[in-house]
Amino acid sequence: MLRVTALSVRFRRHDGSHATALSGLELTLARGEVIGLVGGSGAGKSLVAEALMGLLPGNAEVSGQITRDGQRLAPGQLALAPQGIDALDPLTRLGDQICRFARLAGQPPPDLPAALARLGLPETAARAFPHELSGGMAKRALIATALATGAGFLIADEPTLGLDPETADRILALLAGLAAQGHGVCVISHDLPRLIAIAGRITILQEGRMVETAMAGDFTGGDLRHPFSRALWAAQSWTGADLPC
């Protein structure tokens, strides 16, 4: 079980004052589970991923606890699939990049055809450079690099951003499949209607604060407690059907 307790992030300004970007986040993630993290732009969703992965700049002050099975989280136990496909090295073939991440985590060289097939990528993708991949393939390639580390817990940051609905569904089904294989998966997304199809619990952020953690059924059943959660769901589930002709 991965547990995040009272996670807060604040940035020191030049004049010595501080700006709080995230406060008091609580998360739990079990193996075999998919959870979601949603919120508007600037709510601090990706900041959570950066704080958990130790990617924040020098003027950031992070407080709170991150544990795995009651122990302090060690390197290699949590992996991140970033949102931008520019997170792939443009000069290196995909197969070499996957091996690179395995080496960094001290893992043996992965069986590339199997690692690619697991994500629905053809074997030939190992020889491809990132610019030769489609958007959906690149997103899956990012997940492949994260999985090569052998970490049991995975954060997928906006895995469906910029993808067509069909590809987005395939990526989310893939993440759900990873959870079924025993990974704990945290999906950061704007795409709430798709997210509730695979995530058991969804934490909603508003301006750096956690407003509630709801079950997927709470969205469709109208059981959301916080007004922001209801507004977010209403905005995202609106289809435009009630527009006057």
Binding site: G54, P82, L88, R100, L104, T145
Partner: protein
């Protein structure tokens, strides 16, 4: 064009394009240089006669000019030179009184040894210092390396040469300050170690031309990589800054560094002319200075042609290196 086909053919396409460029570039460059040499205020006969001016009368001067074809109009001389060149005859040097092609063949080895050593020395030092500065960005090693690059870029080559001679040759007596071999010995009579010892100071002098640009360029490209999402992705999974810079960032910096360095082959040649003059290095640079001061048009044109081909090859290698380092460039037209 089919993507797979383009991938395979990028090198052939590049070579063909550059060959076409070479076909019009050589005559154009030669015509320009011939014009400059023709307009030079140095009288080749006077330069040839030199101190024997009292012993050579006007008739003899006219005979020399006639023998060298100097009385013909410039376009006719240029055409004559081109037609001889096409037949493999580069003409005869009036300074050395020897066939130009033989002279170039004799001296090119020494120049290539000097330029090649300087090239790799500058590349190894400039590239690794640039990567180190990027990895240590904002800290004292970075400031020190950048300071060194600025000082080197502001230092004239001749001044560096004088400084090296005064410290390592005159002051410490560690290294020779002259020539490619010890006085009185031929290259065949000199050991490899002794020849390498003679190479050090001229090579360091020539390499200084490229080191500062390489340091700053490699640093900038490595910093750009270290700040990229790709590097952050690697850092998130445990890659240190040194590992990021030297292992993963090196390729990002090496392509552009090689491009800059190879495209600057002309500067290396220019630096070698200076170094060969200062260190009495028996290469083409030294011959260039003698040919220029003696209005030795055949030798000057021959060396210019050799230099043009050298710089052209440098630029071609730069283009190939850039495409090898960055696969995206292979698909660009």
């Amino acid at each position: 064009m089919d993507l797979q086909l383009m991938r395979r053919n990028w090198l052939a396409r590049l070579l063909l394009e550059r060959l076409i460029r070479l076909i019009w570039l050589v005559p154009l460059a030669m015509a320009g240089l011939f014009t400059l040499v023709s307009l030079a205020p140095v009288d080749p006969v006077q330069a040839y006669v030199g101190a024997r001016v009292a012993q050579v009368g006007p008739e003899q001067r006219a005979a020399i000019a006639e023998a060298w074809g100097l009385n013909a109009p410039a376009p006719e001389r240029f055409w004559l030179w081109l037609s001889h060149l096409a037949a493999g005859d580069f003409g005869t040097s009036i300074t050395y009184n020897a066939p130009v092609l033989d002279l170039i063949a004799q001296r090119a080895g020494a120049s290539l040894a000097l330029i090649g050593t300087a090239f790799f020395l500058a590349l190894a030092l400039g590239f690794s210092l640039g990567l180190l500065a990027a990895a240590m960005r904002g800290r004292w090693p970075d400031r020190l390396i950048r300071g060194l690059a600025v000082v080197l870029s502001a230092s004239p080559g001749f001044w560096i040469a004088i400084l090296l001679i005064s410290v390592f040759a005159v002051g410490l007596g560690w290294l020779p300050a002259c020539c490619a071999t010890p006085p009185g010995l031929t290259a065949a009579e000199t050991s490899l170690g002794a020849r390498l010892t003679h190479l050090i100071l001229p090579a360091v002098t020539v390499s200084v031309v490229g080191i500062s640009a390489l340091i700053l360029h490699s640093r900038a490209r490595a910093v750009a990589f270290l700040e990229s999402p790709a590097a952050r992705h690697l850092a998130a999974h445990g890659a240190s800054r040194l590992r990021l810079a030297f292992r993963y960032g090196a390729r990002h910096a090496l392509g552009p560094a090689l491009t800059v360095h190879l495209a600057g082959a002309g500067e290396l040649v220019g630096g070698s002319v200076l170094a060969e003059t200062i260190f009495a290095w028996p290469g083409l640079g030294q011959a260039t200075v003698r040919a220029a001061t003696g209005a030795d048009a055949p030798l000057l044109l021959g060396i210019a042609l050799a230099t043009l081909l050298f710089v052209f090859c440098g630029n071609l290698l730069a283009d190939i290196a850039a495409r090898l380092a960055d696969p995206r460039l292979r698909e660009m037209r």
